[in-house]
Structures are given as C-alpha cells and as structure tokens.
Symmetry: C2
Subunit: 328 residues, 2 copies
C-alpha cells in the first residue's frame, strides 16, 4: 500500500539539509548537495532524490578525506580531486567551473575523480549549463553494473549521459542511463519488496532474473538489450572513468564525472541558435501523435511542471519514505 | 541468389574514383570522396560503401554549386558551407580542420552545412581524429526518417553519432545510427527485393510495415523503440542540424554535420590516457562471455580485420552489385 502526502518544499529542503549537515558537511556544503537531490524530486525523478539519503551510499554518511581540490588546470579545463566526498558536492563545483571557463573561452571540460557516491541526476547539471547559454554534455561513470554485449560479467556502470541545449525559454535536457534499469531502481525495488521486469537483468550465472538482490550480484542489461546500448555505456566509461582518472571496468566502488560546455557562438550567434532550438520544439510538437500519446520534449516540458510545483510551494511524496527520512 | 567474388582493392578504388570524377569532381576531390566510401567497404559496412554510387543520392551525380568554403572562424572553430557538394568532400575538409585546431588548442568544433548527400560512415572521420591522439565526437543530421517517441510523422534523420578514442594501438570507434534501420538499409532492401524485419518501421498511417517503400513514406522507429532512442535522435538533430545552420525536423533533403575533437591532455597526459584506454579493452575482454559469443570492441577489432583485408590486397563483393558499378 502506498500513501502519498503533501509536504512544503521548504520543509523538505530544511529536513534534508539538516540530515546532510549533521555529521561531515557544513551548512553551505549540505545546501549544494541537497539542491541536486531536491531537483530530482521536483522533476519526479524519485530514484535520484531524497531516497538517496535513505538507501545505498547515503550522502550524510560519506566521510570526506579532504575538501575537493583542483589538481590540473588549463585555460579550457580543470581536473578536480573530489577528496572522497559525496558526489554532488564536487559536481556542483565542477559545474560552476565549466560554465565560468566556457563563458570566457567558448569551450570547457571539467573532470572529477575521487568522489564517493553518484553525483545524482545529470540533468540538473546540464540544465545549469544550458541556462548559461551553453550546450552541455555531462557523463558519469559508476561501479560495475552493465554487461558488455556478449558478456556475462558486469563491466560498466549504469553510466548516464546528459545533453542540454539552451532555447528562448526552458532548456532542452535529455538525460538517460545506459542501463535497462538504474542502480537506484534496483535498490528501490528491494526496499519496496517489488520484483523487476523480466528483461532488465541477469543473475551471476548469466540467467535472466526478476530478483533485485540476484541482479545486484549479476549484471544489468544495456537499455536496448543490444550492442548499441553497451557501446554507449563503454563511451561513458571512457569519457567519465578513464579520462578524469577515475576507476573503470569491473569497478568496485568509484565514481567519475566529466562536464563539457560548448558555446553555440563558436558556430552561430547564440540568439540565432536559441531561436532555432525553440523552433525545433515547435515543429516537433506540431506532428501527428499515436492514439493517446503526446510529444514530450525532455527537460523543456518537465521544467514547466517543476515551476508549477515550486509555485504551489508543496510536493507530494510517499508517507512511508517521508517517515523514514524524519526518523534518521 | 548472391554470388560473391574477389576484386583487387586498388582496382575497386580506381573504378570508384573514375565514376566520381567523371562529371563534376576533380581527381583530387574524387579521391577524398572515395576514401570515405571504400573505408566502409573495407570495414564490412556495406550500406555506406560503393553502394552509394549505385542508389540514393549518388555522389557522382551531385552537382556542386561552388567549392566548399569557410564562412565563420575562431581559434577553436570553423563553419564550412559545403556548396551543395557530395557530403564526404566537405566532411574530409572539416576533419582536417578539426584535427589541426584541436592539436593546436586542445579543443575544436567544426560544423558543415549546405551539403547534398550524407557524409557516409561517421566512424571513418572519428578514426582519423583518434589517430591524431584526440577524442572525437561526430554527429550527422539527415532528411526526416525517425519519429519522435509518441509521434507518427518522421521528425528526425537517421542521425548517426560516433565517438572515437585513441589507444596505444587501434582506436576505439563506436558509431551508431539512432534508427532501428539505416536509410541505406531501406534502399538496399528495396534494391534486393527483400522485406524489412517487423519491428523497424511504420507506414504513413502509423502501422508497422515490412515493405521498404511504405517505410520510406512512413517513419523509421528509434533503435531501441523507446524515448531514449528518439531522444538521442533529437540530440543529433540539435548538434548537427540546428547548430551548424543546416535544416532540422521534417527536413526534406538537407544534411548537416558537426565534428568535435578534444585532447585528453586537457585532463590527463595523453600517453597515460592511451595506456588506460588500452587497459580498458584488456579488462573488458577478460570477462566471461555468453555461450557462442565474443566481446567485440568497436573500431578496435574491425581495424585488425581491415588491416588483414588491406594486406591481402583483395576485397570480396557481390558480383551483381560490382557489375552494376562497372556498367555505370
């Protein structure tokens, strides 16, 4: 049984910040971390939201070895050593840096290694980049989860990638995991005692399984169950694991992230680009739809929903999960 | 019935160059165009090879309005007006340019608009970029083919994207179309009188079809039949259609291409990156495989096959298609 209730967004934010700042993070650091998680909740992406304070590598329990620090720098790039902290903290710093450098020079790349825990929903960072009139590409590697097509062992992380584009209004933000189900999807199924669909994971012997615990010991399938999905997972492993100096392949517990920002102005006046990207949305939405379906533009449409929720001041969440949060 | 025969690679190259240079292109331009197509044949990617001189927008028939020319330039970027020529010609020029600028500055982006016909297999260009110790991303937009998830009308091109990475030996080159079948796959099925698989395309009314001609009037499904594949198609439409000033969405006959090159050196010494990317391959190949399957590393493994074919001096092709080529 699921009971949903409404809670003030400000109250949820305060509760989350209190939890994250209770041990190892300052109020300022907790604010940065919670901003990422709360965005996912507001966007309805509930496996990347406050659930991350309840299960898996909980942000508030991750003991940083030291503050994130810059270890390599050029005019166009920065490499950040995360100091073993919760992913969203160095990722927020990286996003500020990639925007600053790309606004100045037209392009920037920022890598993050030595973080503990995922950085959360990549769309959050992509959206920030796009709101600064830049095209954003964000890729994140994570511990072993997805098999390489033809293989049995989990080679790559669930390895999401996001692409974000400015428009005249809301950014377009397309954010996808390379896996048929996210790792938090497995955790959530386990927490709620649910079975998995019968085509998303194999057990450790290579047989399809619907048991989330067996899937965690086995491997997740690529999202399209083909070589293309596993190829994309490999690309993310190279961009976000190999390139910023994080672990890669059969990785037992390390996360790496790479942020790229490109000014449209390198090829076209930015205002013209924004006119054209807005026109793309208008055109796509003018097409015929399949019965009962709509044309959804990722990021663009959810931004409108997020604004409605923010304006209402309240968010709906599962009572059971809220109570767990309050009892932390 | 298919009869295969062997032909000397040099002879096939000469034949193709003769065809392409017979009307509108100089010997030098024809060499550039044929290099791209022949690479696809050598890589066994036969929908992107000499077949392109037989069907569809045949390179030798594309009348250029003027020579490709640079219309915008910064330290990090170049925009090329293709002058209405066959795609591979400005794409070769763009690839040289993106390598030159990125070797110098660590990053470059080059866009191409106003080309007529696809640029061919993107892996070709990605491989060239990676052989210059750069990470390559190449995206190409094309006339309407794929539906936006939930829609019926063909909104986006088949929109391939390629990612290429240097290693200590052969580059890794991952190259995929966003469509469940390529446009040349449709042309090929039509030419050979074959039916399509029953899950790759719809007719103009939105119903699944196996008839290649009905599919050409309808729409192709995204490769994973989900919102992720259509989202990637949209990303490519933005990167390679909107950004370089080419057409986009319900595009009737225009091609755009964007080339990105990033030096690993921005985040890590390039030699270290190459050691790590080679190690990634070794690790992935060390994993267990499903019965009868192997671990295939895109680009890396096919490069070895290409080298074998090149060293043998001969290539196997369908007699019927070779005769059509000789009779042009």
């Amino acid at each position: 049984m699921f009971c949903h209730m409404k809670i003030k967004i400000a109250e949820l934010k305060e509760l989350m910040e209190k939890i994250v700042s209770s041990k190892y993070y300052s109020a300022d650091e907790a604010e940065k971390i919670v901003e990422v998680l709360l965005y996912a909740d507001l966007a309805g992406n509930n496996t990347q939201g406050f659930l991350k304070l309840l299960e898996g590598e909980r942000a508030q329990d991750i003991v940083p070895k030291y503050k994130p620090k810059i270890i390599r720098e050029t005019e166009l790039s920065t490499l950040i050593d995360g100091g073993g902290s919760a992913g969203p903290l160095p990722a927020q710093i990286a996003t500020e840096k990639v925007i600053e450098l790309a606004v100045k020079n037209g392009f920037a790349i920022v890598g993050v290694n030595n973080t503990f825990s995922s950085v959360g929903a990549l769309g959050f960072y992509g959206r920030k980049i796009a709101k600064n009139n830049l095209i954003g590409i964000v890729a994140a590697s994570s511990p072993k989860a997805i098999l390489h097509f033809g293989g049995i062992d989990p080679a790559y992380g669930t390895n999401p990638i996001a692409f974000a584009f400015p428009t005249k209004t809301n950014p377009i933000v397309f954010d996808m995991a390379a896996s048929a189900i996210t790792w938090y999807g497995l955790i959530r199924a386990k927490t709620l005692g649910e079975k998995l669909p019968d085509n998303v994971a194999i057990d450790k012997d290579g047989n399809i399984t619907t048991d989330p615990e067996a899937a965690m010991k086995g491997a997740i399938l690529p999202f399209d169950r083909s070589y293309k999905g596993s190829g994309l997972a490999m690309v993310v492993e190279l961009l976000a694991g190999v390139l910023p100096g994080a672990n890669y392949v059969f990785n037992e517990g390390d996360w790496g992230t790479t942020f790229i920002a490109i000014s449209p102005n390198l090829l076209m006046d930015t205002d013209e680009f924004k006119n054209r990207s807005s026109d793309l949305i208008k055109k796509v939405k003018s097409g015929r739809t399949q019965p009962g379906k709509t044309i959804h533009i990722p990021g663009f449409d959810s931004e409108t929903e997020i604004q409605k929720t923010v304006n209402s001041g309240e968010i709906e969440i599962e009572e059971k999960l809220l109570n767990s949060l309050k009892n932390l």
